[in-house]
């Protein structure tokens, strides 16, 4: 009997330890029950899963004060610390996770290309698979709304702004000379290889207080954090050759990329309107070094390029043609670090340095320029919670520009400027709920050269109108120094100012994106001068002003048609400007009212080929016709171009790529050059400014050697 009692006493505590029942209900904020939520006492095995009514109940033998945790996908985890005896009849509602995919995003004015960012109008690959882009990251962005087609220039013209108003950043650090040098009437390209970037954000207005010295747009490029594998890439093209190599090890990696371009063989086969004495030749190299530290990542990006050519171009005022010779050396180094600190702080900073030397001979004028520019930035970010994030930083720009000018009469005239700008910015992201979010920022800048201090507020609000759509409003004040073309002669000016007002609607569902954005922009303190081109003798003022307003539409769909991905962009732009040498407010020569782009990609499984097309239409741009009174008084005919490309995977390592720009051979006119003096009938004769060639052909063969022999450069095409 005693033994039986012993057994009972041994067993009972084990099987029937004093247990407490924990039970309650879990719902969404709206009161809908949540099924499948995980509910448990922290640090113990005691817990359960909620049933279809959101009800949960479990027993625990724990005593005293413990933390109860409730978690469910796409909701914020709920914690309550309480005595276990009080954990009954619980009514808990979970807040929706504002980081979930269907939560509101602060995105007015922005196009993002990235793998997992929430709303991607562009994919990283689009940069190189868009038919008209020819591997130029700038070319691909020109198929997005908000940009104007200025075929002879090639740079980004955003919403009525000139090309200087859009700035480019690599890993958060400013790139001072992003475009390759080129001759008149020939489009430039982005200097840097798109293969080294995996994130691209293009903002056509209302951007964050982190970015300054840009009146119209910013383009943010991020270099790849971690390459996939060791490999060597070889490319043989109709224009030259490329060679790339990547080595990676446990805590870091090194990528190198070299390219040599020579247009001589191409020009020999295809007729060209320029008369090259020395063909376009460019040697460039890039190097990216990445090193992981315990809490962060250090990156060094450097690029060097050497470009040169010599030619004569037809000129109506010069029967021998205009002579143009250029040599350019450009070096860029950018180091950045981003890392995690304690207590939800993180740090990001970097330094960038550019040295650009340019030697130009225009007829008998010799112009030699040297630019040295430096940018340093330090950002600190604090996450107070998922719903409140503070972001602050300081920034410093230093640029020095010197130019010497000589011709028959002038011997080595030397001029230039040096400028220091210091800036402080701070911004806060506030998520009121999954539906409503604010971004409030302020930026202040001081320019040493202009002795000017300014304050630039930025504000944006986004509201989720349905599960798949949202509405955003943005306002921002932006300042930028006058361009170096003016500052080198005259510095007693004020920073130019632009104000953006943006209303954006976005719909995003199942591989389809629709975006509509209306904007209004005003400019003040634009630089004016009283001669055709800025010079020593010009009279300067900061009295220029302008406005731009319009609508941008974008539609992309990669789901409705099998293996087809396409997008359509349309921009309407109404802008009038009174700056530089304009006698009155008028539509500038680089702005067109209507821009339409259509880009399509079709993947043919059986042929292992991707066929691509890209069509651009833009309405005529203004030019001055001296045979009629007025300034910028005539319009060119509309611009049309259809480009196609074909990428064929020969095997896993070999790709053949071909493209034709302007396949239908539209004869586009970029503008007209008029004679300086009228002929005997009193009319000014003119010459159409035509592209160097109406069409452009490209063939390339790309071969990847990797350790596993399976990788290819399709990522690159």
């Amino acid at each position: 009997m005693k033994r039986i009692l012993t057994i009972i006493f041994v067993l009972i505590p084990m099987l029937f330890v004093a247990q407490t029942k924990i039970e309650g209900m879990v719902t969404t904020a709206k009161g809908n029950p949540i099924e499948g939520a995980n509910i448990y006492l922290q640090g113990t095995y005691d817990g359960t899963t909620s049933d279809e009514d959101g009800h949960f109940s479990f027993l625990t033998s724990e005593q005293g004060t413990l933390t109860l945790i409730l978690s469910y996908l796409s909701f914020e985890t709920y914690k309550m610390t309480e005595d276990v005896h009080n954990m009954n009849h619980l009514q808990i509602s979970l807040k929706e996770d504002i980081n979930a995919l269907d939560a509101v995003v602060l995105s007015a004015g922005t196009f993002k290309a990235g793998d997992n960012s929430k709303i991607n109008a562009l994919k990283p690959l689009d940069v190189v698979t868009t038919a008209s882009a020819l591997g130029d990251f700038v070319g691909a962005l020109q198929t997005l709304p908000g940009t104007s087609t200025v075929a002879e220039d090639g740079r980004l013209f955003v919403r009525g702004g000139n090309a200087n108003e859009t700035q480019i950043f690599i890993d958060g650090i400013r790139v001072f000379t992003p475009y390759t040098p080129t001759t008149n009437n020939a489009p430039t390209r982005g200097r840097y290889s798109p293969f080294l970037f995996d994130g691209i954000t293009f903002s056509t207005g209302g951007y964050s207080a982190e970015y300054g010295q840009a009146l119209s747009g910013v383009l943010l490029l991020n270099t790849i954090d971690e390459p996939d594998q060791n490999k060597t890439d070889i490319g043989i093209m109709s224009l030259g050759a490329t060679l790339g190599n990547t080595q990676k090890w446990d805590s870091g990696s090194l990528s190198m990329n070299m390219s040599y371009i020579n247009l001589a063989p191409y020009n020999a086969i295809f007729p060209n309107r320029n008369n090259f004495i020395d063909p376009f030749e460019a040697l460039s190299g890039e190097l990216v070094f990445r090193k992981k530290t315990n809490n962060g990542l250090f990156k060094l990006y450097s690029a060097y390029s050497n470009t040169g050519f010599e030619l004569t171009q037809e000129d109506i005022n010069n029967p021998q043609g205009a002579y143009f010779k250029l040599k350019n050396n450009n070096g860029y180094v950018n180091t950045s670090y981003c890392g995690v600190l304690k207590h939800a702080w993180s740090i990001q900073g970097g330094l960038g340095y550019t040295r650009d030397t340019n030697s130009l001979i225009l007829d008998d004028n010799h112009i030699d320029g040297i630019e040295n520019s430096f940018h340093g930035k330090l950002n600190l970010k604090k996450r107070f919670s998922k719903r409140l994030i503070l972001h602050s930083g300081i920034e410093y720009f230093n640029s020095q520009f010197t130019e010497t000018f000589s011709n028959e009469e002038i011997d080595r005239a030397r001029y230039g400027y040096r400028n220091n700008i210091a800036a402080v910015f701070s911004e806060m992201d506030i998520f009121i709920s999954k539906k409503l979010a604010y971004k409030i920022g302020l930026r202040t800048e001081y320019s040493e050269l202009l002795h000017d201090f300014n304050l630039a507020p930025r504000l944006s609000v986004a509201y989720k109108t349905s599960k798949k759509s949202q509405l955003s409003l943005a306002y921002g004040d932006f300042y930028q120094m006058p361009s170096s073309q003016v500052l080198k002669y005259h510095q007693d000016l004020q920073p130019q100012d632009a104000k953006h007002y943006i209303l954006n609607y976005q719909f995003n569902a199942d591989g389809k994106i629709f975006r509509a954005e209306a904007f209004y922009k005003t400019y003040d303190n634009l630089v004016k001068y009283d001669t055709d081109f800025p010079g020593f003798d010009s009279q300067y003022s900061s009295l220029g002003n302008a406005y731009a307003r319009g609508i941008d539409l974008f539609w992309r769909d990669n789901r409705s048609l099998q293996n087809v991905d396409y997008w359509i962009s349309y921009s309407y732009l109404d802008t009038q400007r009174n700056d530089s040498n304009y006698p009155q407010r008028t539509q500038p020569g680089y702005a067109n009212k209507h821009n339409l782009s259509l880009v399509g990609k079709y993947w043919i499984e059986d042929w292992r080929s991707q066929l691509g097309m890209s069509y651009t239409f833009s309405s005529g741009r203004p030019y001055t016709n001296p045979n009629r009174s007025g300034f910028l008084n005539d319009r060119t005919k509309p611009y049309n171009s259809l480009s196609i490309n074909w990428a064929y995977l020969i095997s896993q390592q070999k790709i053949l790529y071909a493209s034709v720009n302007n396949v239908l051979g539209f004869r586009n006119v970029n503008g007209y050059q008029y004679a300086n003096s009228p002929d005997t009938n009193g009319t000014f004769n003119r010459r159409a400014l035509l592209p160097a060639a109406d069409q452009f052909f490209f063939i390339g063969f790309f071969w990847t050697l990797s350790t596993d022999n399976k990788s290819n450069q399709l990522d690159n095409l």
Binding site: I7, M14, L101, N558, L649, S651
Partner: protein, 206 residues
């Protein structure tokens, strides 16, 4: 007789005590897996937080979320599940570095993205997947899951390029041999994949 009953009872109680919460929990979770994967995943997560030094419960919670994500069309749910699985893998990886089982799981997670939208993710994730399998094979050439998952991946790629898949059948055969000799460290260590390998190998010979 009474002695025996007494002894038996004490032994049963003893063994009940010896079977730890961890073992009970893991067993229950495995039993739940088939019929109620959400509860199983929740339970694995609960075990993971109660056993902060053990990578296995996070591994299984991640695996359930990844398996659920194949053939899922709802992008929001898919993203939430795969992000959750990624968090669990990251957590497990801090407890067990260079673990080939976790690498296989990571490769499968990428494969789930690829299966969802090959046009978007194929070209960026395929090199990553290959790299992971290569590294896993270097670390653990005798792990049958590394062998079989890599072989299946290689086979699919070869099929895509219209190339000969027979070399990978040999890899599958090798994987079957490895499975035959494979002994998991504990009953709760990963020990799956043999059936799938056998059926893939069978379709090879047809």
């Amino acid at each position: 007789m009474k002695q025996i009953i007494y002894l038996t009872l004490v032994l049963i109680c003893g063994s009940l005590q010896a079977q730890s919460n961890y073992e009970k929990g893991m067993q229950t979770a495995f039993q739940l897996w088939q019929d109620n994967p959400i509860e199983a995943s929740n339970l694995f997560e609960r075990i993971a937080q109660a056993e902060p030094d053990n990578w296995l419960p996070s591994y299984y919670a991640a695996q359930i979320n990844i398996i659920k994500s194949f053939n899922l069309k709802d992008v929001e749910k898919l993203t939430a599940q795969l992000n959750k699985a990624q968090g669990l893998i990251d957590k497990a990886a801090t407890l067990s570095e260079d673990n080939p089982e976790l690498m296989v799981l990571q490769a499968l997670l990428h494969t789930a993205w690829l299966a969802f939208d090959g046009a978007t993710y194929g070209r960026t994730l395929s090199p990553k997947i290959r790299e992971i399998y290569m590294k896993a094979e270097q670390i653990a050439p005798e792990n049958p899951r590394v062998k079989y998952c890599k072989a299946e991946w290689d086979m699919r790629s070869a099929q895509y390029f219209g190339q000969d898949t027979s070399p990978y059948c040999k890899d599958l055969e090798k994987a079957l041999e490895l499975f035959a000799n494979f002994k998991p460290e504990t009953p709760f260590h990963p020990n799956w994949g043999e059936e799938r390998t056998a059926s893939l190998f069978e379709s090879c010979s047809q």
